[in-house]
């Protein structure tokens, strides 16, 4: 005996398309917890309970995004109030932020020209504290060079020896002048 195929009416088909069934399996403990939540929520149907759960999930998502945006905006406004320097344009009255390197350089130059300084720093016209004088033991003077002694003129015998040495050919010249010696530089 074959089973008759269950006929789905057009209204059922439309309903299934509009509100599809979502089915899954989970462990009994979690299902029990879900049922407890459902009972505690006091909503009329299981479907509405699920919708509320989903809504709660979406709310969570939105709140995270909102929290991130709010944190970013508060951080930016805090940083602006602490670090941003601005002035009003004398012509149109709009705010001009000093945020470009050129403007910052100009401001630095103007401040330097105006002579701004730390309040606790000594003024230029007041005598500056003099550094302590060094003691004689702490001074490292350069060592004096030894005196240059002029070369003594050779006496008679020394002059003779020098003259003899200048006349003698060097060993190199002696080798070159020898005809038997081989010339190693020739290729």
């Amino acid at each position: 005996m074959s089973k008759k195929k269950k006929k789905i009416t057009p209204s059922q088909k439309r309903y299934n398309q509009k509100v599809p069934a979502t089915t899954f399996r989970m462990d009994p403990d979690t299902k029990q917890k879900l049922l407890e939540l459902y009972k505690a929520s006091k909503v009329t149907t299981w479907g509405i309970f699920f919708e509320e759960l989903v809504g709660h999930f979406e709310l969570k998502l939105i709140s995270i995004e909102d929290a991130r945006k709010a944190g970013y905006e508060s951080g930016v406004s805090d940083a602006r109030s602490r670090y941003v320097v601005y002035f009003q344009c004398p012509d149109c009255g709009q705010t001009i932020f000093i945020n470009t390197p050129e403007l910052k350089a100009k401001v630095r130059r103007l401040i330097a020209e105006a002579g701004w300084a730390h309040a606790e720093c000594p003024k230029p016209n007041l005598p500056r504290p003099t550094p302590p004088k060094p003691t004689p033991s702490s001074i490292n003077l350069p060592k004096p060079n030894p005196p240059v002694v002029p070369a003594a003129k050779p006496n008679g015998s020394q002059a003779k020896i020098l003259h003899f040495l200048q006349e003698q050919p060097s060993t190199e010249n002696m080798l070159n002048s020898n005809p038997n010696s081989k010339d190693t530089t020739r290729s």
Binding site: Q17, K18, V19, P20, A21, T22, T23, F24, R25, M26, D27, P28, T30, K31, K33, L34, L37, W46, G47, F50, E51, L53, V54, H56, F57, E58, L61
Partner: protein, 47 residues
Amino acid sequence: MNCRERFEKKMPMVSTRLPAETRDKLLAELHKRGMTLKELLTSLANG
């Protein structure tokens, strides 16, 4: 108790009907986060 009944007892079925738009939106969001509806409901049920 046959195997089908044992399985039904071990992993009971949870079924609901949600509006198609809500379900699609939810499933898309879950897919983005690499979660399933079952995991979401489990985490919500566990607080």
